[in-house]
Structure formats: C-alpha cells, structure tokens
C-alpha cells in the first residue's frame, strides 16, 4: 500500500514539475569555451556564476536557470547554439557574445524568436545603427567608442603621428574607424592582419614596417591570444623604447598575469582606454572585484565585469514586471531605465539601446600585493554616446 502511494506521489510530482519549470527565468549564455579564446569565455562564465551567487539564484522570487553554450569562436556555430537556446530551451534572454561576427550571425535567430538579446561584450556598429532592434540591448560599449577615447588621449598627449595594427574583422574595422575619427595627427601606416581560427600571430613584417614608418606611437587592437603574441614581439623588436604602445582590449586582466609570469616588465606603464577598471571606486565594482578575487584568486577582466553587469541588468528587467515574463514591453521599459547597480557606476541607455557612459584612461601597473593589473589615470569622455545612434530607427 505504502509503495503504491509513493509511486502515485512521484507520478503526480512528475506531472506537476513542468508547470513549476515554467516559473523559472531561463537565460542562455553564448560564449567561447573551447579554443584558446576559452580564456575569455571562462572569465565571463565565472563572473556570471558569481553574479548568480550574489543574487541568491533568484529574480523577483523566481528561480534562475543559466544554460551555457560554446560558440567555438565561429559565427556559424554561434548561430546554431542561439537557435538551440531559443527553440529547444525556450530561454527568455540570450546573452554573452564575445565576438562581433558571432553576434551578427546570431542576431536574427534570437530576435525573430521574440527573445531579448543582450550583448555582454560585442558592440558592432551595424547593431548600433541600421540593424538596431527594440529587443536588442548592449551592456558593454559600441566598438568605436573605446578607440575614439584613445584617439582623444593621443591628441591630449601631443602624439603627432600614429601606426595602426588590427585584425581584419568586424570589430577590428570598428576599432580602427574609431581611433581615426578622433585622432588629429597623421596616420603613417596601417595593417589589417588575418583573423579567425587561423589568425596571424607572427607580426615580424608589420613591426618592421611600423618601425620604418617613424611614427610617434603605435595603436593596436589584439584581443585574446593575439594580444600576448603582439606585446611579446613588440618588445622583442625593441619598439617599446622608440614607439610607445597605446592599445584597446589587448592588455587586460587575462594577459597581465601571463606577462608577469614571463617577466615582461616592458608592458607596465602601457596605456589603454576602457569604460571600467578593477580599481574603480563604486560599491558594485568593489563587491564584484573582491568577490571575484576571493572566489577565483585572480583579477576579473572587463569581459567579466560586463557579464556580471548583464546578470543584474536582466534582474532589473524581471523585477520591473514583478516576474511576469510574458510582459515584454514592461521588461524593455525597465531595461531602458537602467535601474540597477552597475560596476561602472551611473550610466544611461541611448535610443539605440547602447550605453551612454564614461571612458577612462588606464595604465598597466602593479597593485599593493605586487599583482599586475590596471589603474585609472584620468577620465577621457564623460557620458559619451556612440556615433551610430542617429541611424537607428526601431
């Protein structure tokens, strides 16, 4: 008799559980978890997991479920995984996305399915302008903004001529366009190098050209493994003595520990621009950085900071409608208000759903414990909006 009752109960439980499952906030997170770029993906995942802990696994009283997917650093795989998330898993939000080309390929899958798509890193110009969408939000920056801030820094520091190097893909082109837009001096030369799975990592020919150009300074954008390779060769070629390095998304919390391990002191003091830095003095940033250091024993990168913000951003949407996940308009309105504690402090959303925020000049330096990290030097742009917003019509 008892056994039968148990059996009945378990059948009942099974029958009820799908209804309970529907009361969950499901978040799909697409990032790169294989290939060397997994370093970035893992950092984002670690930050998202930490944010999950910090919100106690709940949003507006609902349980939160995160489904991670690996894009393998390829646009086609990223699109497939996005399809899977919106069709099979029926998630409410799709976020993550390191790479602009992966995001551009995945965009239609998520948006056509009527889901919110929130980029935690990639900010291609297309999505800020003509291809903008009411259900797409960016919680990082538009690609051009950070290099635009850097161009301004170059002007302020009296740099008269510049050599530019960048990988040849969507974000690389945006970065170059950004620095060219604000930098007033002469561009002595430019190299767009091969990118993707068989990316070019030996820059001997380009560095020789840069040296021969006689430019005052060199600007580069080399995210991931290419950044380490570039900085090493830049120093081996002895250019750090004659041609100071200004970079975006190249020297970060992912590469600095490696440089320190290899004793590459030449990288200290190199300058970059960014919307955030681990030493930022906001309550949320302090909570995030100390929590990350405690849990993982290393500094978080800006990729991690954006992912951490993405969780709280989504939480603000769900809480804005008191957990009524069917209310898309309500959630959208909540996200447009930007009513959540961000690691970067106060910012607002532009009409194209890209942040209007400050950009800072950062310098690679050692912290009080001797660990290599980045520190804010000055504020370059105050509440800066990207230039593509005017092309965006929902």
């Amino acid at each position: 008799m008892y056994k039968h009752a148990m059996w009945l109960l378990s059948v009942l439980a099974l029958a009820v559980s799908p209804a309970l499952a529907a009361e969950k906030v499901k978040i799909g997170f697409v990032t790169t978890l294989t290939t060397p770029a997994a370093v970035i993906g893992n950092d984002m995942k670690d930050a998202f997991d930490l944010a999950y802990e910090h919100i106690g696994g709940k949003m507006a009283g609902l349980d939160v479920e995160i489904i991670y997917e690996d894009d393998g650093f390829k646009p086609d795989i990223g699109k497939q995984k996005t399809d899977k998330l919106v069709k099979q898993d029926d998630v409410h939000f799709v976020t993550g996305y390191i790479w602009s080309h992966v995001l551009l390929a995945s965009r239609k899958s998520a948006l056509d399915a009527g889901k919110f798509l929130i980029s935690a890193n990639a900010g291609p110009s297309q999505l800020a302008g003509k291809l903008c969408h009411k259900n797409f939000f960016n919680i990082s920056w538009q690609n051009d903004q950070t290099p635009m801030a850097l161009g301004e820094v170059l002007n302020q520091r009296g740099v008269k001529s510049l050599y530019i190097m960048s990988p040849n893909y969507a974000a690389g082109k945006n970065m170059v366009a950004g620095v060219e837009r604000t930098f007033k001096g002469a561009i002595k030369g430019k190299d767009m190098t091969k990118w993707g799975k068989d990316a070019q990592l030996d820059f001997s020919a380009e560095l020789a050209k840069a040296k021969a150009s006689g430019a005052d300074a060199i600007f580069v954008f080399y995210p991931g493994k290419a950044g380490g390779a570039f900085v090493k060769q830049y120093m081996q070629a002895g250019l750090n003595k004659s041609m100071p390095l200004y970079s975006v998304y190249t020297v970060d919390a992912l590469s600095l520990p490696k440089f320190q391990k290899a004793g590459m002191k030449g990288v200290l003091g190199s300058l970059m621009t960014q919307f955030w830095s681990p030493d930022m003095d906001t309550p949320q940033s302090k909570k995030f950085v100390s929590g990350f250091l405690k849990k993982y024993g290393r500094y978080p990168s800006f990729y991690a900071a954006q992912s951490y913000d993405a969780m709280f951003f989504i939480k603000s949407a769900v809480e804005g409608v008191n957990g009524n996940l069917g209310n898309m308009d309500g959630m959208r309105a909540a996200m447009e208000k930007v009513d959540f504690p961000s690691v970067r402090g106060k910012f607002s959303m532009g009409s194209n759903h890209f942040p209007i925020q400050n950009f800072y000049l950062r310098e690679a330096a050692a912290d009080s414990a001797g660990r290599w990290t980045t520190k804010i030097v000055s504020t370059v742009f105050k509440m800066h909006q990207d230039v593509y917003a005017k092309d965006c019509k929902f």
């Binding site: 370093v39 430019k190 020919a205 081996q236």
Partner: protein, 307 residues
C-alpha cells in the same frame, strides 16, 4: 623603397620559411615515404611548444628545455605511431584523415585539461631577447636569427641523414618500393616508426621555436598545418629538398605580400580600396601560387626521383 626595410623583410620571410620547413619536412617524409596523411602533425608541433613551456619554467632555462623537449616529442611520436598510426598503413587515405583528425581532438582536449585554455608564454634568456644591427638600419631580434640558424642546421642534418647514411638509404628505398625493401630483410616496421618519430621531433622543434614569439596555444598546429601542406604540394610530396625550397618561397611570398602589397596596390587604387584588398590578397598569395604550380607542374617543383 627603403633598402634596409627590404633586407629586414627578406630576413623575416626567411625566418617564417625556416619554421615552415621544420614542420613540412616531417609531413613530407611521412606522406611521401609512408604514404600516410597525418593531419595530427600539427598536434605534435603543439606538444613540442607545451613541453618546452613547462620545462622552461621548471628548469629556468630555455635552451635546456628545448634540448629535453625534442626527445620528448620524439617519444610522443613513437607512442602515437605504435598505438594508432601503425594500424592504418594498409587502409586508404580517408581512414588516415578520419583517424588523425580524431587524434587532433584528443590532443587539443588533453592539452586543455592539463594546461588549461590560457596560452603559455615562454620567457627568453637575456642574450636571446635583444636585437642586433646586422647592417646599418637592419635591426633584427636575436631570437629570429637563432630560428634561422636552427632551421639551417636541421636542414643540413636532414640532408646528411637522408643522402649519406645507411638509415637514409633505407628510408629512400622504402619510399621507392616498400614491399621490396621488406623482402630484402629490412625491418620496415621499425624503420617507419623511426621516420614518424623523426617527423614528430622536427614538428616539435618548430613548435618550440615559435612559442617564445607567439606563446604555446591550443590548436596552434592546426592553423599552420594547412600552410605546411601547401609547402609540400609546391615542393613535391616526399622530397625534403623540395620542402626546403618551397618553404622558403612560401615564407618569402607571404611576408613580402604582407609587407609591400598595400603600397603596391595604392599606386593604382584608392587608398581605401587598397586597404581592404591588400590583407585579403596577401592572405591568398600562397594559395594562388599553389594553384599555379598544380596546373603547370602537378608533381611539384622537386618530385622525388624513381617514383
């Protein structure tokens, strides 16, 4: 044009060519002599780099690490040959490709598990980290010269081994007629194992040479393997001499394309178009060369004789 820049770029091209040669030599031996398509050749290149990185930190000496990593990769090559490759010789090329593609996945995942996803930079000793001025205005990192020297010495040793030793004679005989050599009492099985190990050690050496420049990374060998195949097709499959010359040609063309193509295109194009076209075209140059060679001389520039 600035001649100092030209000389520097030629040296850069030579250095890239030498690296390609180290990788392609093993590939061409295995493909040409054993008639075996080894896609996992790049994995051995990666293993060499990772061994060298770990040993450099453990022993605090890059040169010592290289000296130990070469026999280590040789050993890995032997193990792979005995466990997997040996059972595939009699099968067709499609089976080779499938099995060695599987090996790539195994190697990449193992490296991910053991060393993690992050790249491993290799610090160079002080005397290799500097630069020398070879000619007035031609300043080149010492380490890049070391790569060129290492490659030339290895090429010389290979030439001596294949052309002037008993082992080399057997390797050449094995390439011409495997069954006949076996019938004459030569242990062809052990010979092939040795050749495979030798190819692995050379691939590993190439990995060790590049890692201080680019870091040891997961999948680093898969990226460059395609170019190595281009080299052996241009050089003639099975020919070490062909691989040497083709590697230098490919290295020079690739480097020169990256160095000067945008300048050339700017002469008859708008600057903007040249900036878009140059990187795309320079990435294609070596494949265009390969296509031309395949059209005019399908057997490659220096096909091995008596085949």
């Amino acid at each position: 044009m600035d001649w100092a820049l030209l000389v520097t770029q030629i040296l850069n091209g030579l250095q890239l060519g030498i690296l390609l040669f180290l990788l392609a030599a093993g590939l061409t031996l295995v493909f040409g002599i054993m008639d075996f398509v080894n896609l996992a050749h790049g994995s051995l290149y990666m293993m060499g780099a990772y061994f060298c990185a770990t040993l450099t930190y453990a022993l605090d000496s890059f040169l010592l690490a290289v000296a130990l990593s070469v026999p280590l990769t040789f050993a890995v090559g032997i193990v792979v040959e005995v466990l997997v490759i040996r059972h595939l010789y009699r099968r067709d090329h499609l089976d080779h490709v499938l099995a060695t593609f599987g090996l790539i996945l195994v190697f990449n995942s193992s490296v991910h598990m053991i060393w993690g996803a992050a790249g491993n930079p290799i610090p160079l000793p002080e005397f290799l980290d500097g630069r020398v001025e070879l000619l007035p205005g031609v300043v080149i990192p010492v380490y890049r010269l070391l790569i060129i020297a290492t490659g030339l010495v290895t090429a010389g040793a290979m030439y001596y081994l294949v052309q002037h030793t008993r082992l080399g004679m057997r390797i050449r005989a094995g390439a011409s007629n495997r069954d006949m050599v076996g019938a004459l009492g030569v242990d062809i099985k052990t010979l092939f194992t040795l050749v495979f190990g030798l190819g692995a050690a050379m691939a590993g050496l190439a990995g060790m040479m590049i890692a201080p420049i680019t870091e040891a990374n997961i999948g680093m060998g898969d990226d460059i393997l395609i170019v190595a195949f281009v080299v052996i097709i241009i050089g003639g499959i099975g020919s070490v001499r062909g691989a040497f010359i083709a590697a230098l040609v490919v290295g020079l063309i690739d480097t020169m394309g990256r160095a000067f193509l945008d300048g050339v295109l700017k002469v008859f194009m708008t600057i903007q178009n040249a900036e878009t076209a140059a990187p795309a075209l320079s990435a294609m140059l070596i494949y265009i060369l390969m296509a031309a060679i395949l059209y005019f001389r399908p057997q490659g520039l220096f096909p091995p004789k008596n085949r």
